[in-house]
Symmetry: C2
């Protein structure tokens, strides 16, 4: 019963995937159910298992299987798995072991320092850690290599194919269009009234509504579940176990409704990946940006649409306070689409959201490119917020300290959010040529939409790179015009200018 090299390689990938499923479950558990006193021990266990994954990815065994198998087999799943494993091997092998371990320690220290600094509104106490993180990331970028901009090497981790020069083509254009749109909105004579949405929304009712909507989206509850958490997320343990979490605010139903639908979009992606990719590194979304395009597609392009509420307003009312009985759909729809620049990214409306991303992108690119220094961040942050959104933080805790990403060393991640948004608009445009989206939504049966997304996107997992997938699905490369057109059209209608 001697194994072939191919079998050995696939076994090693399965071992890695098994640790990843265990890690995923432990992470889900920690964020939903786990008793708090067990967390210290659990963190150590997570450390041991993550170290195991790292060991496999960088093992001599892995290297030798890759070398032996490359070009020897035409099975596309094997070919792509080899590519993926090789990229991970190279990326990791380029960082000296000692530096990697120091970095892991720094990340965990920096995250806890960030939590404290944010609580105390004290950027200075966090600054030295952030400086170190930036230094590590610059060094890593140099190890990995890049053609034009050092920041490209970091972008590659989240959105392969995307570079600074590509972003510079699109981000400023989008920023200009959105800030102009925002100006018109501010001046528009007919403003929505969000106070009509106020009321008390019991958790149990919100839970029922969330479940109902997830089912309608095509989310399979036999291959997943919905739980409550503090910071909502979706997680795929395997394609038959993809869990959604949400948060219920009894004063504001929007948190759970749009949050659940957003995470549901991520979950549909993971649930519909081709089972033949199971136990390979291909059995997940192809990039952060494409993943985000799926959540934003459902959240913004479906559930913030007028047609959606034409169908779902009755269902909503059944789970809402009585006052909504007399609230006309039109007022409701306009209220849930109120545009209001805020200081906090995760509270942003769909129009200003991208502007929050631009602020972060420009700053981290400049940091990695050594055009600015960490100590300058608070001031620059506030300046850009004022320039792009017209609001200015009074404290760093609602400014530069608000997000955890940098504390975790995640430089190059933020652009994915805006890219996902642009991808989603582009995908929506293509879909609308083949499917009468409004009609399908009004009928309340999203099966057609979900099947379309599965056949074009979901099933492939990581078999296609993000830009390759985008090109195949939409017939063109990244094009931000669709997003701008969509938002312009939508908000002209809502604000009537």
């Amino acid at each position: 019963m001697t194994q072939t090299v191919k079998e050995k390689f696939l076994d090693l990938l399965k071992e890695q995937s098994s640790y990843e499923e265990a890690i995923g479950l432990m992470a889900w558990d920690m964020r939903t159910k786990a008793p708090k006193k067990g967390m210290d021990n659990r963190s150590e266990v997570l450390g041991v298992l993550s170290e195991k994954v790292h060991e496999i990815q960088t093992s001599d065994k892995m290297k030798s299987y890759i070398d032996e198998l490359k070009g020897q087999d035409e099975d596309p799943v094997l070919v792509k798995s080899l590519e993926e494993a090789e990229e991970t091997y190279n990326k990791t092998a380029k960082i000296p072991g000692k530096e990697y371990r120091e970095y892991v320690t720094l990340q965990s220290k920096a995250e806890s320092m960030w939590t404290e600094a944010k609580d105390k509104n004290d950027f200075e106490s966090f600054r030295p850690y952030l400086e170190e993180l930036v230094e590590f990331n610059k060094r890593f970028a140099d190890y990995w290599g890049y053609k034009e901009h050092r920041y490209d090497a970091l972008l590659h981790n989240y959105e392969p194919g995307i570079t600074v020069s590509k972003l510079e083509e699109v981000f400023p254009r989008v920023r200009k269009a959105l800030t102009e749109l925002l100006d018109q909105i501010k001046k528009a004579p007919k403003q929505p009234d969000p106070s009509v949405l106020e009321g008390h929304f019991p958790k149990a009712q919100q839970e029922k509504f969330s479940e109902e909507i997830l089912k309608r989206m095509g989310y399979d509850f036999e291959a997943g579940r919905l739980d409550e958490t503090v910071h909502p997320f979706a997680i795929g343990l395997n394609s038959n176990d993809v869990r959604v979490t949400t948060k219920y605010d009894e004063k504001d139903f929007r948190t759970a409704v749009f949050g659940t639908i957003h995470e549901g979009g991520h979950a549909l992606y993971e649930q519909n990946i081709d089972p033949k990719l199971t136990f390979t590194p291909l059995a997940t979304g192809t990039s952060m940006g494409i993943h985000e395009s799926q959540s934003l597609f459902w959240e913004n392009f479906i559930s913030r649409r007028e047609a959606f509420w034409q169908n779902h307003y009755e269902l909503f009312k059944r789970h809402a306070p009585e006052k909504f009985e007399s609230l006309p759909l039109d007022q409701f729809y306009r209220a849930i689409n109120e545009v209001k620049p805020s200081l906090i990214r995760i509270e942003a409306d769909e129009l200003t959201y991208c502007l929050h991303i631009m602020v972060r992108y420009e700053l981290e690119k400049a940091l990695i490119g050594e055009e600015i220094e960490v100590k300058d961040l608070p001031e620059l942050w506030n300046k850009k917020m004022e320039e792009y959104l017209g609001v200015k933080p009074e404290m760093d805790s609602e400014g530069v300290l608000q997000d955890i990403h940098w504390a975790g060393g995640d430089f190059g991640y933020f652009p994915s959010y805006a890219l996902g948004y642009m991808y989603a608009a582009q995908i929506e445009k293509t879909m609308s040529k083949e499917i009468d989206i409004n009609r399908v939504i009004e009928q309340g049966d999203f099966k057609q939409i979900q099947e379309w997304l599965t056949s074009r996107i979901h099933q492939y997992g990581k078999m296609k790179k993000p830009l390759e997938l985008l090109e195949e699905v939409t017939g063109e490369g990244l094009n931000p015009d669709y997003l701008v057109d969509y938002l312009t059209h939508k908000y002209k209608h809502i604000y009537q200018f």
Copy 2:
């Protein structure tokens, strides 16, 4: 930063414990929350992680650390960890790899064949698998070695120190006493009326009562949680994350009340193990029997006691239907202690429970000792049931096919249940000399009891062998008289003979 051999050994144990925590969480999840479609994948992941544990336990590295460290260090935790690791190594290394793998495959096949056979009441379809399992276990027993009876080698896996000759001293004596007691009970003039316990008990109310009782027992909800399941269990992931599960029958509150308290007893053991044993193989209960003594102590010796209900009946009534308002405590107490021989072990009352165990013990001992054959089991089972309990199964599904243990190859396990019961009675006797148990219970504060158990038993984990622990706690070896006395006294009072 070179590691000493001791550090390397402890690291390897930590790695093993980490896999075990992950396996434990996955098992808990599968039995409480996990979506059913993900189960196939999950089983494979469990397989990979279990294989990892097995690899570590039998690794050359483990062997060399043990050999190098033995006798070199006096740290008692290290000494006991070495003993434990060595025993596992030897036990596992004695089985040829090929046979071990065949056995694992057989176990999983046999379990699924058993499920089918039980459903269809078809012993014959399960027989060949059971025969193979018996053959494997006989062979394993021979590999492991024994002095007197081949079955001793299997007993050792669950209750080290216990042998056939020890069991033969106590089991027949207990059996005789219990069957005589049962006869007297059957003939007693004053029988309890269990119909007074009937009613509708909404799940939510039962849940609240269960939580309340667990808290009173000293179960720490910040280091654990309570969930619903089909076959209740408690599981310790680490001493700060010990989870209890229970089952709610809306027609019969006894399932959840006594079930939760039983599992709570197991959980208290795991929650109170000395933290310095963390990440060693000593951080768990010392044997199946001692573990069962803790669950049975709480279930039978505390919560089926009159004093318990003197304190808790009011609390119970708050969560129970109105009819209980007018039910006198005495009638309630007698009804929950009704003795009624049943066919099914897990539904047995506290008096006849041990007789169920005797049936299984005698049969499996005879199988391993080649005094009987698998094909004779159904008939022998029914005969013994009639002889000891006075009831006879009409179908194998309520007879020899009822328990999963043999299908999993667990021969030698059943006696632990009865031993646990005897240990519990012995422990209760000792405790009663130091603590006025009735008074403590009446006051509803179990802290004294829980602390007594922690200081004498729980904290030690596997630092002491079961019989060594028993001797230290109670001042004598296994003595079944305490159990017989306890039951005789209690049931004479209830049935008034």
